[in-house]
Subunit: 333 residues, 2 copies
DNA sequence: ACTCGGGCTGAAATCGATTTCTCACCCGGC
DNA sequence: GCCGGGTGAGAAATCGATTTCAGCCCGAGT
């Protein structure tokens, strides 16, 4: 592996000059030419480790996501990656598995590795601690989930508004007993989506205690959705529709429904977040489409501004969701 | 950010001693204790960039995969990640998008970044060039796909054997006109799977020209599977079953079948590779299960041996696939 | 009592790039 | 002919850890 000194020797100049050629210093054209030729024949590319050490800034950003198997997060990751690549940053993807300990270990690595910045979809609202990074001056952007009390930029979707719209859509379609499967009590996303659901039902004069009796908290995973849905179906007067707060739980809920021999349009299903291959499988599913890719792209762009030194006040970007109603127009009747 | 010298000063020792405490050198218990306390109160963790520069080896490995949206590769990635974490390596995930240029750019980054090693699911069999890395002494393990003429370790599935078994299974079920949708002509995976399919049909005395007429090459993506399936269905005598060489193309094929009003068990569908949520959706789909997670884990483990300096001769690990027949037992009739 | 050896230590070199500091040189103006 | 200003280039310091090297101390062996 050729070093800068090898190139310098081959070109008959000092290492400083070689560095200047590649970093836009002032060098006479003739010398610059010699350096470039030498670099080419030696196949030189600067050692990024040494550069990072000297400049105190890496060309790597970290992306912490809770579940790489979830298509929502893979789409988000692609958005981050594409944005990062535009400024020659590489992305280290860290899968925290919704596990706060694992997440903290990755945060430590990011600090020790002196990464240029972090995009974080937090594993927990209460327990994720981003202060260490912020303290050390490492730029951080929260995405999708906002850890409580974190002084960072954030890019979110309008969870509450989207959930309210979507639930209202179910009501318009004629469903009356709309249950809800939401995520863990701690997460900002599950709370906001629940709040939107509640708002829509209240607006339709559904009493609070009915709502409470028909709400289940699960874990944002397939199994949790399955169990919660079974519970709801076992009620004395089962619901005639359900609002499910994320894509994976919808898959579980669908399984529970199939086992119970229940299907749309007699039963309304609304998923917050795109269910993979849903259009193929269940054209009768309504979904709230989440701009996952754009979320990632926006977060990475924001992060790059901070890395470049922007001192603007902290900002929160909120992207709109969009409702994709099911194809069939029939209601529950 | 506390440095090793800060800790040394606080503990009243030299930086060398601090380093020895953390890297298993011989230090008296009493001093080691003082160092550890100082490190704790200062919140010291060694700067990995500096360490990498000095030791000439990073604690990061690269994972190059062609499509992060494909659940097969996300499962593989998790396997790599879990294995890597056991030895405190972090994983940089690079999504090459089946694009050889993008892949080459990532390879350059990996070299400049002096990563400890690479796990590569190559974008192309012919055009992916791993020699630069090998030449510079960077350990590389090919996974799932083997680039032609690359002198590297590899972890693969037994594509041909799995495909042959699976096709034979369709024949046993009573299907007679079994078509095939495979991947791009260049890829090792699509060629091997096609070869397995062919072997099974030949074994059942199906003439070669029939086979050739009922084989389509597509691009391993949903759209390609859809188009190929439509072509096959438009034949004068359409097939009564299809062997599809990867999971995403199966999704496309299923859509084409649904649009044509065709469904199992009248039509046999065999997917090479698990289709996400298939069990929920299409219990009547047979799949060849691929051990994606284990593939990643094995590759990362092998890579770590090489990083640790193992000089064993190059090896190729082949993992077995397993056939998961559809639930219903009825045949085509 | 003297030497030899083994275990700890700290000073200093090292990794490879960037960046400051210094100096030589050239040009135009007085 | 002399002097300032500006420019280009090299020597050397620097980033923060690891590692070599040399020295020191202490105990054991003769």
């Amino acid at each position: 592996m050729a070093t800068i000194s090898d190139v310098a020797r081959a070109a008959g100049v000092s290492p400083a000059t070689v560095s200047r050629v590649f970093n836009g210093g002032r060098v006479t054209a003739e010398r610059a030419q010699r350096v470039r030729e030498a670099a080419d024949t030696l196949g030189f590319s600067p050692n990024r480790v040494a550069r990072s050490l000297r400049t105190q800034r890496a060309s790597v950003i970290g992306l912490l996501i809770p579940d790489i198997a979830n298509p929502f997060f893979t789409a988000l990751a692609r958005g981050v990656e594409d944005a990062a690549q535009r400024t020659n940053l590489s992305v280290v993807l860290c899968n925290t598995d919704e596990d706060v300990d694992k997440e903290r270990r990755y945060l430590d690595v990011a600090l020790a590795e002196h990464m240029a910045g972090l995009v974080v979809a937090a594993a927990s609202r209460r327990r994720t601690d981003l202060s260490a990074a912020a303290q050390r001056g490492m730029p951080v952007v929260a995405v999708d989930r906002r850890p409580r009390a974190a002084e960072v930029d954030a890019v979110m979707v309008d969870n509450q508004h989207g959930a309210e719209d979507a639930t209202a859509h179910l009501i318009e379609r004629g469903y009356r007993r709309i249950a809800c499967v939401t995520g863990p009590a701690g997460a900002s996303t599950s709370e906001d989506r629940l709040a939107g659901y509640r708002a829509a039902l209240r607006d339709a004069d559904v009493p609070d205690d009915w709502i409470r009796a028909h709400t289940r908290h699960a874990d944002f995973r397939v199994e949790g959705g399955y169990t919660a849905m079974k519970e709801l179906l076992a009620l004395d007067v089962p619901p005639d529709a359900v609002f499910v707060a994320n894509n994976l739980m919808t898959v579980g809920a669908l399984r529970a429904l199939r086992e119970a021999g229940i299907a749309p349009p007699g039963f309304g299903i609304l998923s917050f977040g795109d269910v993979p291959w849903a259009s193929l499988v269940h054209p009768s599913l309504s979904t709230v489409h989440l701009p996952a890719y754009d979320l990632g792209e926006a977060a990475a762009t924001l992060l790059q501004e901070r890395i470049a030194g922007s001192a603007k006040p902290l900002q929160t970007v909120v992207l709109r969701t969009s409702l994709e109603p099911r194809k069939s127009t029939a209601g529950p009747g």
